[in-house]
Symmetry: C2
Subunit: 445 residues, 2 copies
């Protein structure tokens, strides 16, 4: 009998931003040959690593003619200074002088497009059909390093603020948002649904842990196929108890955004440079206006009359963040007090303004990226609002447990990860900020 001992072993990581410390030393790298240029006296081999490219230079004693682009290789080489200007290279002040190169694996075929061009520039359908391959393009994958920082910094910021992470179930018996936009599942001999939001579970979480956050997928069976919608997306959710106003939620989001901008500067300077991202800035605050005032501004400034509309139109969202940038140097703008009819049944009405709710959206670069507000915590108020919405309280028995047995005043928000990622990266179509977007026509790959 053969018993092995498995000892703990971590990955050896070379910090490429500190390549200078290794100048003159030999290092080992594994990667893909991204570009290969064989000249009479020298060969330039650009390797694609986990996050960036690196230039490997082979002097003429090395014959690299048996290698092709796409090969997975292991190289050793000496770090030496250089001056490179490809934004996809990290670190641009160094290159590797080749010592040895070994083939690890050669692909069966070359993909039908060139992954090593500066811009991918292929048709969207091909790009999405071949996403496992097209995401290898340095600029495509960089988007998801930004997205990763947005999600991870949401978690770390909320952890610093005493929030507990929850994992809400995705198979549910009823939808939080109500309405027809819900996917049905055959669950053994019952019908079940895919969660449209973790809303109920976040509110339960307030009663359990006081403050909770949840990062996970949500599902909306919306039929529109636009650059602003996908049918499965990652929702960054939090909910906090003992608030004194729904503005507490907005103030915490403002603090998160400040923190996020710092985290992006710290962790993603490579991607910021590669994608030529302009990070959002704001002065010490984000301006906040009521929906009806927002309609007035739009009417006054660009003569479009939405003053009787219960919601913002896409062109208002576009105009209003330009306006707030000009007037307040803020690319973010809160819109508050949406009408009762346009907000879900768990939203708290404004006692001072009948028909309006203590709710908000956050607009950023022309797009709503957050919905939030104060929720109802009183049992009778919640029961009556369910009835006034034409819903049946017995369908909300589990949810009403919360109010019956008590929960403190609370509120929260949901940020769409793909929307925020897209707008930070300056991408128009949010599908590009989803690795494998699902829309009315697409569930592959």
């Amino acid at each position: 009998m053969n018993i092995k001992n498995i000892s703990p072993k971590q990955i050896e990581i070379i910090d490429l931003t500190k390549l200078g410390e290794l100048e003159g030393k030999e290092i080992k790298l594994q990667g893909v040959i991204h570009r290969l240029r064989i000249l009479p006296n020298v060969t330039f081999c650009i390797l694609r690593l986990e996050r960036s490219l690196i230039q490997v230079v082979a002097e003429q004693q090395h014959d690299l003619s048996k290698f092709i682009e796409g090969d997975f290789v292991e190289i050793t080489g000496i770090v030496r200074s250089s001056k490179l200007n490809d934004r996809a290279i990290l670190n641009k002040n160094y290159e590797i002088s080749l010592v040895t190169i070994n083939l690890i694996h050669r692909p069966k075929e070359l993909p039908p497009f060139e992954i090593n061009k500066k811009e991918l520039n292929i048709k969207p359908d091909l790009e999405f059909d071949m996403r496992p391959i097209s995401l290898r393009h340095p600029k495509k994958r960089a988007i998801f390093k930004i997205s990763e920082t947005i999600a991870n910094s949401f978690a770390s910021f909320l952890e610093l603020n005493g929030f507990t992470r929850i994992f809400s179930p995705k198979i549910v018996f009823a939808g939080a948002e109500g309405g027809a936009n819900i996917f049905k599942i055959q669950y053994f001999d019952k019908m079940a649904y895919l969660a449209q939001s973790p809303q109920f579970y976040k509110q339960y979480g307030v009663g359990i842990f006081g403050r909770v956050y949840d990062i996970g997928p949500v599902f909306r069976a919306e039929k529109h196929n636009t650059t602003r919608h996908i049918n499965e997306y990652i929702s960054l959710d939090f909910e906090m108890g003992f608030i004194s106003s729904f503005e507490d939620v907005m103030a915490l989001e403002t603090a998160y955004l400040k923190y996020l901008i710092e985290q992006l500067k710290e962790k993603n300077s490579f991607e910021i440079d590669l994608l030529e991202i302009t990070l959002p800035t704001f002065n010490d605050f984000i301006p906040s206006i009521k929906l009806k005032d927002a309609h007035e501004i739009v009417f006054k400034e660009i003569k479009k009359d939405y003053r009787n509309e219960p919601d913002l139109s896409p062109d208002e969202e576009k105009f209003l963040t330009q306006w707030s940038k000009k007037e307040y140097n803020s690319e973010f703008l809160f819109i508050t007090h949406f009408p009762t009819s346009k907000r879900p049944f768990y939203t708290m009405d404004d006692p001072e303004n009948p028909g309006e709710t203590l709710s908000f959206d956050l607009l950023f670069r022309g797009l709503e990226i957050t919905t939030g507000g104060q929720r109802i915590h009183d049992y009778d108020m919640q029961y009556n609002k369910i009835v006034s919405f034409g819903l049946n309280p017995s369908d909300f028995e589990s949810f009403l447990q919360l109010h019956k047995y008590g929960v403190p005043p609370h509120g929260g928000l949901a940020i769409g990860l793909e929307r925020l990622t897209a707008r930070i990266c300056g991408i128009e179509n949010i599908k590009e900020a989803s690795m494998y977007p699902r829309d009315i026509n697409r569930i592959t790959p």
Copy 2:
């Protein structure tokens, strides 16, 4: 028009482990009255905070008779030293001498069980039916602070090891594991499925980022209703490229488990004490044996003959971790080389042992908590194995893109969060380690 400025504002957190630094000072707390004991000269009011209890003592000038257990209150009081012995209290060396108390909200009703007893001890059906309330019990919610650390330390450990976080889609067109255990969704005019694992997307991730991890829900339509199964669970997944052996994956998991134990000591000493958890220990390694040798040990030691079985039985899993604890001081044990027929079609066969795979399970305290192994990276090998499994390669067109256009040798694993949480907490039924467990009979709350 009214424009407000929303300034960033974080939550003021009192670190209860450092309450000594505030001795003699007045602090403000918000919480629930967990227990109220009114004596002639003094009232003891135990408040339930986000994570722990705290004792508030009201001298006789305070009349607390108008308060009841379950009330949400805000108090101010002076920190003073004490000596308490309720494990649910943090910090046991201090209490609060009441200065002011205000009612924030009173629930409509009291729940049908007492949340403030040392043990909840109610019937499981009632506990799960009323999970939004029963999870408020200090010992119940403590389980999920352990679970939170397991998930968050998985993320931070892998980040330190150069992994990129991905979010794999949950609506998919085919199942990674194959077979009948898959939930169907009506996706507009198509049929779709709920992901059984992020397997394909993790493997795509290796081609994109080299090393990836994913934390999210997965769905299994398994009909058995046991203490070891739930139909929706959180899977902690990683996949790493450029491995030289499937043991690289096992060595990284071993390093994670060491890291996790340190993180639990650092972040969860409160819950470890409250739940009387014995943290797992191992010497400098985790032992690893082949499946057939595991069967031999079981046969030799307890005379049960599973030597012709292609998998481990539950009683073998129980016995084997006892055995490895006795023999190697390790409550963890790797079992390797499962037969080809019992592992999915993407598993690499062992070239040296036909019919066996380069795969492993990790057992811990009698339960399989991890499945992993090396995957096939070669196109022809993967194509042929799909065919030999009786599957149709054209159903795996997206997946085979990966192999056709190339991916380096790679492997990975999946850890069941609820299983690992349950075993660390010493819980027999993994449903108790899921906030809102889904089983064949339950999709509520």
